[in-house]
């Protein structure tokens, strides 16, 4: 496959996919690190609380997976994986690029903020272990917006690539 084979529209689409998983993954790593430092400090005094804090620690990691899902969907819908390669117009490519960028930004910021919310929840658990059930709600609310971003991204990718799919089938 020669480099000139990738036309501008397709290039923009994959750049968007890269931003989606790149920003999502970076944000997740950052968010987990914020929560992990707080968690390590708590464990220094109360190691028995590890089980209660594990979910809080893992929650900011979901954005990385959401970014990965968005990128994979772009690749499958455009035929890069498992199908015939479709021609993508410049307009569609540009739209997919911004869908990927928007998704990536939402995931990046929500992952960091979720890390901070998890850290606050970890502080609460350290002081009042019986409040673990309520503490998990703080990062869970932040998660909502990462899920909404993923949903919007999935819908955009499906509907933006639908005419291409129909065209390829000759309909």
């Amino acid at each position: 496959m020669l480099p000139e084979w990738i036309e501008l529209g397709r290039g923009l689409c994959y750049a968007g996919a890269g931003l989606a998983f790149g920003l999502g993954g970076s944000g997740s790593a950052w968010g987990i690190a914020i929560a992990a430092h707080q968690c390590a400090g708590v464990l220094r005094e109360k190691p028995e609380l590890f089980g209660r804090m594990l979910v809080m620690l893992a929650l900011p990691g979901t954005q990385g997976f959401y970014g990965f899902i968005a990128a994979i969907l772009m690749m499958t819908q455009t035929g890069l994986i498992g199908g015939s390669v479709l021609k993508i117009t410049l307009g569609t490519g540009l739209a997919l690029f911004f869908v990927g960028l928007g998704c990536g930004l939402a995931l990046f910021i929500s992952a960091i903020k979720q890390g901070e919310a998890s850290a606050a929840g970890i502080s609460l658990i350290a002081r009042r272990p019986e409040a673990a059930g309520r503490a998990i709600l703080f990062p869970a609310f932040v998660e909502t917006y990462a899920v909404v971003a993923l949903l919007a991204t999935v819908l955009f990718i499906i509907f933006l690539t639908q005419p291409l799919a129909l065209k390829s089938l000759g309909i």
């Binding site: 430092h37 390590a40 400090g41 708590v42 960091i112 609460l124 350290a126």
Partner: protein, 328 residues
């Protein structure tokens, strides 16, 4: 863009530690529960719920309780400081003990009442033997050292000299962090300390000019000190002090002569605890450390008050009245 706090990981770690330790803070009811105990030995089971539990031994002598509480506070503060990216929040609380040790050193003593904070006991011993090379900068800047570093401060005013240096040192530390909450706390603490020093001088009939000499220049407080020193009647001081500290002063001066300063001190401590409590709202950062140490200091002071009060058979009502507001 996301967070402007430098050294987030280190502050996060130490704040996590603090979150765990904060669970051991005790409410006011705990202390009133100790006060109503009939026998001093009945207090011991209650102390098992405090930060002191690791320091209690069957061989403990009640007379050492105050030193034991100080050691507990110092151990925790120094341990927290070692985890912090900046030593300033802990240093602000350790500084007072250092200056009391320094006061002993200036008197030529080589046994110091407080554990090591910023100044090691070796340096203090050197100072006690007349070697002033390792004095903290605010002490050197206060003057009083002639050619070859010879101390020229008259021994009778050495405490006033060190009080001035201590307050200047506190202000310098607070400026170093760039935290609005810590600056506000230290500002009010320094202002209240100035008022108490001058108020005591007036009550003891000591000329305030002598204090003024060693307290000045004290940044933004220079004008206030000069103004207070010019007014011999404390009843006219409120407007010169100003702000919340001025209001607290006005409330205290209404009381009986003997209770005025101790009541003002109590009101100021409660006001400062109120400021420090804001640090609890932060997930990670220097304010969180500062607030915790402020709460720990108040808890140790309350413990010392109730235990020594019980030992000296002080009236329950008086002890309850003197209890400081708790952090939780």
């Amino acid at each position: 863009m996301i967070s402007r706090l430098p050294n987030v990981p280190q502050w996060g770690f130490v704040s996590g530690r603090i979150s765990s330790l904060e669970a051991y803070f005790l409410p006011r009811e705990f202390f009133t529960g100790i006060i109503i105990q009939e026998r001093i030995d009945d207090v011991i089971p209650h102390l098992q719920d405090t930060f002191l539990r690791d320091y209690l031994a069957p061989t403990m002598v009640w007379g050492d309780f105050s030193a034991l509480s100080d050691r507990c506070f110092y151990d925790i503060a120094i341990s927290i400081r070692s985890d912090c990216p900046s030593s300033i929040p802990a240093d602000i609380f350790l500084l007072q003990g250092d200056y009391l040790n320094l006061s002993s050193a200036f008197s030529g003593e080589t046994r110091f009442p407080f554990p090591v904070g910023i100044l090691s006991h070796e340096k203090l011993s050197a100072i006690a033997h007349g070697d002033f090379a390792d004095l903290p900068k605010p002490v050197v800047e206060a003057g009083g050292f002639g050619e070859g570093g010879v101390c020229e401060v008259f021994p009778g005013v050495i405490n006033a000299f060190l009080d001035g240096a201590y307050l200047r040192h506190l202000l310098t530390l607070a400026q170093g962090l760039g935290s609005e909450m810590i600056r506000e706390y230290v500002h009010d603490k320094v202002l209240a300390a100035i008022v108490i020093i001058l108020w005591r001088a007036v009550k003891q009939g000591i000329p305030m000019k002598r204090y003024q000499q060693y307290l000045l220049a004290l940044d933004e407080f220079t004008e206030v000190i000069a103004e207070l020193a010019g007014m011999q009647n404390p009843e006219t001081w409120q407007s010169a002090i100003g702000g919340r500290i001025g209001d607290l002063f006005a409330e205290s001066i209404e009381l009986e002569m003997d209770d005025q300063i101790s009541d003002f001190d109590l009101r100021v401590t409660n006001h400062l605890t109120g400021i420090a409590r804001n640090g609890k709202l932060q997930t990670a950062g220097p304010e969180r450390v500062f607030a915790f140490l402020s709460g720990l200091l108040v808890e140790m002071q309350n413990l010392k008050l109730v235990v020594t009060g019980k030992l000296n058979r002080i009236d329950q009502g008086v002890l309850k009245q003197r209890l400081k507001d708790c952090y939780v």
